[in-house]
Structures are given as C-alpha cells and as structure tokens.
Symmetry: C2
Subunit: 226 residues, 2 copies
DNA sequence: GACTATAGGTGTACGGTGTACACTTGTCAA
DNA sequence: TTGACAAGTGTACACCGTACACCTATAGTC
C-alpha cells in the first residue's frame, strides 16, 4: 500500500510551465503574477521551476512567444489587404486574451513564433508589390496602431461601457470644475448612449490605414523602383 | 558653532519628490525605480516620502501627469491638421524622454494636465468640423498610433542603428536557420545602409493617418449631420 | 517666555519578491 | 549493485513597499 504511488502528479516540463504561466497571467495580470504563485498553481516548490526555465525573464520570453503563436499568419490566398486585415484582427484578439503581453510583444528576446510572424507579414507586403522602404513603413504603421490600440483598450476597459460617463464626472470633480473640460463632458454625455463598440472602433482606424497604404501602393506600382 | 544649522537641506515637498522621481525613472527605468532608491537620491529615509505621497501608485499617477504637462497642447491658431501634427510630435518627444511612462499614460488616475490635454485635443477636432462620432474615432486612431509607435521605438532602441543587422542575424541563428526567414534577412541586409530615421518613420505614418482623416472630414462636411 | 499642537523626518519590522546553493530523491544504464 | 543524472526540495539572502510608533523642530496661543 505504501508501495503504490499515491496519485503521482505528472512531472513538470518547460511547456507545462509556460502554459500554466500564461493561464496564471491571464487570470491574475502581470502584477499578480509571481514565480511563487506559479509554483503553487503547479503544486510544486518555487525553485522547482528553475529546472525548466532559466529565470523569470526567460519565462516571460517564452510566454510572449506563445501569444505570437496564437496570431493567425497572413494567408497567401488573399489579397494583401484582406490578409493584413485578418492578421490585425487576430492580433487584437490575442492581445485581448493576454492583456499582460501588450507592452512586451517587441521588447523581449524573440522566439520562433515571433520571427515567423514578422517574416510572414513582411513577405506579404513585399509580395504585394510594396518597395522595400515602403513595406517597412507600412509594417511600422500597422503594428504601432495595433499595439497602441490594444493598450488603450485595456486601459480604458476599467470603465465599463455605461459607467464611463459617471467615472469621467467623478474625475473632473476631483480635479477641477466640470466646466473646465467641456469636450470631456460631451464625451461623457454622448458616448454611453451611442452604442460604442471597441471592435468597430478598431476596424475603423485599421481600414483608414489600410486604405491609405493601398493608395500609396498603387501610385508606386505605376512608377516602380524597388 | 553647534548652533548654526549645518548645511540644512531644503525640505521635501510633493513637487520636489515628483520631480526627483521623474528624473530617477528617466535614468534608471521603471524596473530600476524604487521608493528606496528615490529616498536615497533625495538624501532621506524611505518613509519620509510617505509624508508627501500616499504610496507608490499615487506617486506614479503624479509622475505621469508631469509627462502630460510637457506635451504641447494643440494651438488654436493653426488648422486642425497642423495642430494635431505638432501635438503628436510633441507627444512622441515627451515619451522618448520618459520611456517608462509609455505604458501608463492612459492607465492611471488622470491628473489635471491629462484632462486638459484630452479636452484640448477633442476641442480641436470638434472645432474643425468633425462630427462627434468621427472625432472620437479620429482621436482614437491618432493616440493608438502615437502610443504604439513610442512603444516600438523604445523596444527596438536596444538595437543601435547599425547593429540591427547583426542582432537579427544572431537571433535567427539562435532560433533556427537563417533561410527560414528570408524577409528578416532582407531587412537585416538593407535597413542599416538605408539611413533609417525613426523620426521620419513616425512622421510618415502620422501623415498617412492625418491625410485619411482629412479626406473623411471633407466628405462629411459636404453632407453634414452632427 | 512657557506650553502645546502639528508637520516633517526617523527606525524598526513584516510580508512579499526573485533566485543562489546545497540537499534529497527517483530513474535508468552499465 | 552501482553510480550518474535529472527533477524536486529547503534554506537563506537581498531587495521591495509600507504600517506603525517614535522623535524633533517649528508655529501659535496664552
């Protein structure tokens, strides 16, 4: 009886650690994410993790690469615009699921999924006829927009749709008289009833950017010069 | 002799604490910024700070508002596009000086400079004839782009201009064979010699967005309906 | 001038963090 | 059976934010 292993837990592994880490960060946020908490979640003593990841930084690197792996690569079956649109929507969704990753997507040692992603996006643009320099610009605008939007969306999410007005009001009262901020008052008054939808908002800006890029691409296509 | 005050240091104050905090974060980064370090910088014991700020969170709120206060408000003497362009450039510069603030600009309790800024920007757009909903969209795209670009710029800054190729090469080698990422190879090969300038890059995307917004504004102006 | 309230700075202590280092234990090869 | 090695443990250290009790110097009032 003492011989049979009493509910032996399956052993740790790098991918098991990474997966649990992502889940914990999803649920507790980056603030509430700690090596000790992760160890507890895995039913193990903190130092056990260090047999599978070098340290917390390297763990975060791996977590970010998991997020990258969840983003749809641009399909080569579509025109460049549809392909970029889909990968942008997919990126936003991934960042919504993993809000803790937003500030870290480009700041860590890139993993394989990261490199594959960047290579595929650049390939999509070059394949669509963007000259090199313009492709770099096009990539830069899109990613800046996507990451920046995700950031805003996460931060503003603290005000639930219909409490936004209330929140703005309280703030203004704290900081000064309401009349000092007439346009914020307008937002507080009109936004709640306007059926604001951040997915629509995201698509609006995205399409504006893609439209501008297509226009420039066509100009360049008539007068080429890689 | 014992009577005369021996080099009495000037007393702390909330603004002195905030200013020193910004300076320390500028120099040490958010990672290296601690209450204890700040206290040391001010020649004082850590707990002394708590007589002037409630806690670290509230201190960060105040620091972010200082950053906001350094951003030029849109001038009402200019057409909307020039005004927005200047405030965007000014924002990028402020975020470049204070890289630690990038992820926090919209995530904390807004201070007076923050509210004033947002109100002025919204006022500029409304005054230029943007209908309410479009003004909200226009604001959203611009800020998403600005914050996202600042984020990228900070993260990519680890690779100095001419070491970028080298860095990319080393990474690819770590993670897989170079041939797997032909477009990253192209970037590594061409970017260094292309005189890449992130200020130019920023303006390129910004103008693309402003151009798109102006186009939509004109359409709307012909068929109005606030 | 004596008395007291108060604001500003101090010292100690507690529970949290990441992780270095030495240890046990369980598994498989020879 | 032995011995190597991988995986998990326990202890310890330096750092973090900050609660709480304390001191001290100044300002106001009588």
């Amino acid at each position: 009886m003492a011989k049979q292993k009493i509910a032996t837990r399956e052993p740790l592994s790098r991918t098991r650690v990474l997966r649990a880490a992502v889940a914990l960060a999803d649920q507790a946020g980056l603030e509430g994410f700690s090596m000790r908490g992760l160890a507890q979640e895995l039913g193990v003593v903190p130092m056990a993790l260090y047999k599978h990841v070098a340290n917390k930084d390297e763990l975060l690197d791996g977590m970010v690469d998991i997020v990258f792996s969840e983003i749809e690569l641009p399909s080569s079956d579509l025109d460049w615009r549809s392909a970029m649109r889909l990968r942008a929507l997919s990126t936003r969704e991934a960042l919504k699921r993993h809000g803790w990753a937003i500030g870290m997507m480009e700041s860590r040692h890139p993993g394989p999924a990261n490199l594959r992603h960047h290579d595929a996006v650049m390939g999509c643009l070059r394949g669509a006829g963007f000259p090199f320099a313009m492709a770099v610009h096009a990539y830069s605008v899109q990613d800046a927009y996507i990451y920046g939007f995700a950031l805003q969306e996460r931060d503003l999410a603290f005000e639930t749709p219909d409490s936004a007005g209330e929140a703005a009001r309280r703030r203004a009262e704290t900081v000064g008289r309401l009349e000092d901020y007439p346009y914020l008052v307008e937002i507080a008054a009109k936004l709640p009833g306007s059926g604001y939808d951040s997915a629509v908002e995201f698509a609006w800006g995205l399409d504006l950017i893609l439209e501008g890029l297509e226009r420039l691409r066509q100009v360049e296509a008539k007068a080429p010069g890689d």
